[in-house]
């Protein structure tokens, strides 16, 4: 999985490319987000436009870090999840936990 992190207006913008699933992908994303939280950054935007599939370990990661960011006064917001990712999040009942945006700009602006 490719992970690209940028900072825009005090928001960490994390761009993912590849399947978010158990193994290296989930491990790498966990490290990136833990580092952000360790640096005091709890306002996170996850761009999922190039993530065709999220498995249950990826979902678990998103749910846990959503709670962690909210505890720190921030949030974890999603941008452009694929149709199948949305279907999967809905199936397990967590879709409505997340704020979802059509593009990075709208997600970043929502933190203002």
């Amino acid at each position: 999985m490719d992970i690209n992190v940028r900072k825009r207006a005090d928001v960490e913008l994390i761009q993912l490319r590849g399947q978010l699933r158990l193994g290296e992908a989930v491990d790498e994303l966990r490290k990136v987000i833990e580092e952000s939280l360790g640096n005091g950054d709890a306002r996170l935007v996850l761009n999922l436009a190039e993530v065709p599939m999220i498995d249950s370990s990826g979902i678990g990661l998103l749910v846990r870090f959503l709670a962690s960011t909210k505890q720190r006064g921030g949030s974890l917001k999603l941008v452009q999840p694929s149709k199948f990712a949305v279907q999967t999040l809905r199936l397990v009942g967590v879709l409505n936990l997340f704020e979802i945006f059509d593009n990075d700009d709208a997600a970043v602006a929502s933190f203002a």
């Binding site: 158990l22 193994g23 599939m53 498995d55 678990g60 749910v63 709670a67 199936l91 009942g93």
Partner: protein
Amino acid sequence: MTPDPRDNGKEGELTSVLDVSMPANSNAIAATADTITETLGQLGVPEEKQLEIQLAVQEALANAVVHGCKNDSSKQVRCRVKRNAACAIVITITDPGPGFSPSYLPDPRSAQQLQEGHGRGVFLIRQLMDEVSFESGGNQITMWKY
């Protein structure tokens, strides 16, 4: 009388299309799931159905590696893929672990479970596949997609 299309999809002799074993290592799961997806593509399975099967396989392999084998990479997980003439796909995943009782799993959509970081795998498999059964005390799962 019109036959039940689900029964119809299961009828016919099954042909083996893949039989692979992998070490019980979480980093080996993705490659095995991808190999199965490539095989489904070669069989002409539609892309949407490929994704559903791939995710179910991913979850079943993860359960076998993490719970069945306790991440002991000296153990092996076996994955068999078969099809019939109607292109129904049946996938069987077997691990050497003690098994488990799938009937006692909580609903991950319940208020108590919703914020949990785990416990969604078997639920997802059941939602994504058309028929799912556990054999050998729970250390073998068979999943059908019609």
